[in-house]
């Protein structure tokens, strides 16, 4: 496929994919390499990386193996990224499609609701949801999805608005297709590429949101999470700064990977940019 070929022509996109594969590999090999509970006591606290061959990324304030937490944390980050993104994208597509296709009062109402979500700072809404529903990991993931749907909804709506009066849609309507088939069979496949590209942005943001929550001690303390680890390390920042540095770097690389893949997809799906 031409798009695939274009994707692999860009070094940045290939780098992103490599990084992403690496993170997935971390997640998959976590149980194999670190079968013990990553949150359990492993050794003397605050050993610097490489000081002890058993803990090549060192230990944290509570004497837990940082490497184990990085590997198991990859799993959490990816899971949060994928699930929260799916929730946000599905919700966004539904709202955007209905709003853009039907227009009128339905559109007006849905857009006011979207406005409301976009007017309320999403991190604040996230705090509210956590305060009300607790900070179990499932709740956190759903909450992140719920605060992230407005942007994909607006994007889908804009696509639908520009597509719904295209002649091929009119032709479909004349052929006797009903609304559902027009929305999902005719318009959505054409509206999807930019939304899929945007999913990478949502995924990057989701991972960042969860890590920020965890950093503030508001995410689930019972799952290994990179943000949690950074939060733990704050108390020893002056001397043992590596406790913060290592998991932060992991977040950075993961988000970078997702963004690069997203950008690569965008360039591959919109070939007109490389004519220049």
């Amino acid at each position: 496929m031409a798009a695939l070929k274009r994707y692999f022509r860009s070094p940045a996109a290939v780098l992103g994919l490599t990084l992403l594969v690496a993170v997935v590999a971390l997640a998959l090999s976590a149980d194999l390499l670190f079968p013990r509970n990553p949150l359990g006591l492993a050794g003397r606290p605050l050993q610097w990386p490489l000081d002890n061959p058993r803990f090549w990324l060192g230990t944290d304030t509570a004497g837990r193996d940082i490497a184990a937490q990085i590997f198991h944390g990859a799993r959490m980050s990816l899971l949060i990224g994928v699930v929260a993104t799916s929730i946000a994208i599905v919700l966004g597509i539904l709202v955007g499609a209905v709003s853009g296709y039907y227009g009128g009062v339905v559109d007006e109402v849905l857009m006011r609701v979207t406005d409301a979500f976009q007017t309320l700072p999403n991190f604040l809404l996230l705090l509210l949801l956590i305060a009300v529903f607790g900070s179990r990991i499932e709740t956190v993931v759903i909450a992140i999805g719920v605060v992230s749907w407005p942007a994909p909804a607006r994007l889908t709506r804009a696509e639908f608005l520009s597509l719904r009066n295209r002649e091929f849609v009119e032709a479909g309507r004349l052929s006797g297709l009903g609304d559902l088939r027009l929305i999902f069979g005719e318009i959505l496949p054409n509206a999807l590429p930019p939304v899929i590209v945007y999913a990478s942005v949502v995924m990057a943001t989701s991972i960042l949101l969860e890590s920020a929550l965890a950093f503030l001690n508001l995410s689930d303390p019972n799952v290994p999470s990179w943000g949690n680890l950074v939060g733990q390390g704050r108390s020893v920042l002056r001397t043992e700064w590596y406790v913060c540095a290592v998991p932060g770097l992991a977040i950075l690389l993961t988000v970078l990977a997702v963004s690069l893949v997203g950008q690569g997809l965008n360039d591959a799906l919109n070939p007109r940019l490389d004519e220049q």
């Binding site: 002649e167 052929s175 006797g176 005719e186």
Partner: protein
């Protein structure tokens, strides 16, 4: 007359990924002061590239490979970029096709016209403002003082094009390159702009390179003609010579495909009235929370009758409401008032379900060969869709699609391909196959050939006519092009601002229009005094 521009053996190379290596292949042309040379050709012939090459405004991946472009003896490809900049706008002016996008939306007209003086001269602000006024007056913009202060979106397309012309002629350049400057305009506006260009050219003795695809425009404005095909010039000579005694087979086939403005000679069908529309009304407007927005009366009280087996042409310029009318008839958009009866059955009052059953009887062919086919579906599925929705099995529907492909002159095996694998003319055939799949009684054709090159246009019109006869179709044919209308329609209705201003047999309306607007419309048809010569050899069409 003295020689201003000489293009000698000019070749322009395309990037490797293009479908041919050269956009221009050894093109040689001369252009003298006080003459208009029309460079005419179909899309992809390289005619626009020629204009850009002279200005050295080619895209980065396209470059001049060989040849000379001599402006008053100075070879332009040799000039350093800084010096070339002093040529652009000052010694060569250029106008473009799209008046909507060719002006910066965020700056006033006066500012953009004045920019030419700011760049090339040392005039003071007051002097520039004065010159701008003179120019805007010269291009006959109504109220030049207000126009200078206006932003592009506040002007009509024709006024914007006038502003573009003012800009291009500001410094009285020796050469003016006009790249399809009237293609995006309505026919009456086009006539005005052509006249303006002609007048200004005479007054200033400018040498004009006029790029167009339209032989009517050529007949209207050209002193000399050069015909391009696939990057080469196949024929050039005085306009009168080329238009009436074309030598090259390609020129002959192109000219043969131009529909004459006289109605086709055929008996008027006298079937019973099939479709009756009475006082149809459609209003667009926004009823917001905070007061009412602007209201547009797209269709106001239109009545018409379509006889079985007849073709009714609906002509009008953009904004006349003809497309809205078509969509109201097909119930793609709900009408606000009036009645719509098909063999006595009032279609407007049908419920959604009842309409879906009846919609089979009235199908539509669209204008845009690219926008009217869902790019993500196989063309066979597109044609079969209406049948499967109505309960036919997929295999039977596809079989029928194959049959229809044969009927519209396409390879039946091609039904598994995607739309992007077809040319514009082939796509219109697919659109036709899709409309015919449901065996309609009435075909609504909304500008079905407007986006096509003239030779392809002739083929599609022929096909439409033969299908109409074979399948006993009644046709509502919407077009802005009176030449096309003359060829296909038995009766005509002329629309303006949502209303019907004149109606009657096509021959009568074209020969003796009654309403002032219709008269203006007929008078504005470019090259209406030129009768395309009957060519002995039949036009050679490219095989499908």
């Amino acid at each position: 007359m003295s020689l201003r521009l000489a293009i000698d053996g000019l070749s322009v190379a395309l990037p490797k990924s293009a479908d041919r290596p050269l956009a221009l292949d050894s093109v040689s042309l001369t252009l003298s002061s006080n003459e208009i040379l029309c460079l005419v050709g179909e899309s992809g012939s390289g005619k626009s590239t020629a204009g850009r090459a002279v200005m050295r405004l080619l895209p980065p991946s396209v470059r001049i490979a060989a040849g000379k472009i001599l402006l008053d003896g100075q070879n332009l490809p040799d000039l350093p970029e800084a010096e070339m900049r002093t040529v652009r706008g000052a010694r060569i002016g250029m106008i473009f096709q799209e008046p909507m996008t060719a002006l910066n939306p965020l700056r006033t007209i006066g500012d953009q016209v004045g920019e030419v003086f700011r760049v090339h001269t040392t005039l003071t602000r007051a002097e520039i403002a004065e010159r701008v006024q003179t120019l805007l007056t010269e291009v006959l913009i109504p109220d030049p003082v207000a126009a200078a202060k206006a932003y592009p979106h506040e002007l009509s397309g024709g006024q914007r094009q006038r502003a573009m012309i003012a800009m291009a002629l500001a410094l009285e350049p020796a050469v003016l390159i006009a790249d399809e400057p009237t293609t995006a305009l309505d026919v009456t506006t086009q006539a005005q702009i052509l006249k303006l260009i002609r007048d200004l050219q005479r007054r200033h003795g400018t040498a004009v390179l006029f790029i167009t695809h339209d032989f009517g425009v050529v007949a209207e404005i050209a002193d000399r003609v050069a015909v391009m095909q696939a990057g080469r010039i196949v024929e050039q000579g005085p306009a009168e010579e080329v238009l009436n005694r074309p030598q090259h087979p390609y020129t002959r086939s192109l000219i043969a495909a131009v529909p004459p403005l006289a109605p086709a000679d055929r008996p008027r069908p006298d079937g019973a009235v099939q479709l009756t529309v009475q006082d149809l009304v459609k209003t667009y407007g926004r009823k917001g929370f905070f007061g009412t927005g602007r209201v547009t009366h797209a269709v106001r009280g239109v009545s018409l009758e379509l006889r079985r087996g007849a073709t009714l042409g609906i002509v009008g310029e953009s904004g006349s409401g003809k497309s809205t009318l078509a969509r109201c008839l097909a119930r793609l958009i709900p009408a606000d008032g009036g009645s719509l009866r098909l063999d006595g059955l009032d279609l407007r009052t049908l419920s959604g379900r009842e309409w879906r059953r009846e919609s089979r009887r009235m199908q539509m062919v669209f204008q845009d060969p690219f926008g009217s086919l869902n790019p993500r579906r196989r063309v066979g599925d597109l044609v079969a869709q209406g049948l499967t929705v109505r309960g036919l099995s997929r295999s039977a529907a596809l079989e029928k699609a194959r049959e229809l492909f044969g009927l519209v002159g396409l390879d039946p095996q091609a039904i598994t391909r995607f739309p992007h694998e077809f040319s514009g003319g082939q796509r219109q055939r697919i659109g036709l196959a899709r409309a015919l799949a449901l065996e309609p009684e009435i075909l609504i054709a909304d500008e079905p050939v407007s986006a096509l090159d003239v030779s392809v246009q002739a083929q599609v019109l022929d096909l439409l006519e033969s299908l109409r006869q074979r399948l006993h179709l009644s046709v509502l044919f919407i077009t802005h092009d009176l030449r096309v209308a003359a060829q296909v329609a038995d009766d005509l209705i002329v629309m303006k601002s949502g209303e019907v201003v004149e109606t009657g047999p096509a021959a009568q309306i074209l020969a003796d229009p009654q309403h002032p607007y219709t008269q203006a419309l007929v008078a504005a048809v470019p090259g209406r005094h030129w009768m395309p010569p009957a060519v002995a050899t039949p036009p050679e069409y490219a095989p499908l």
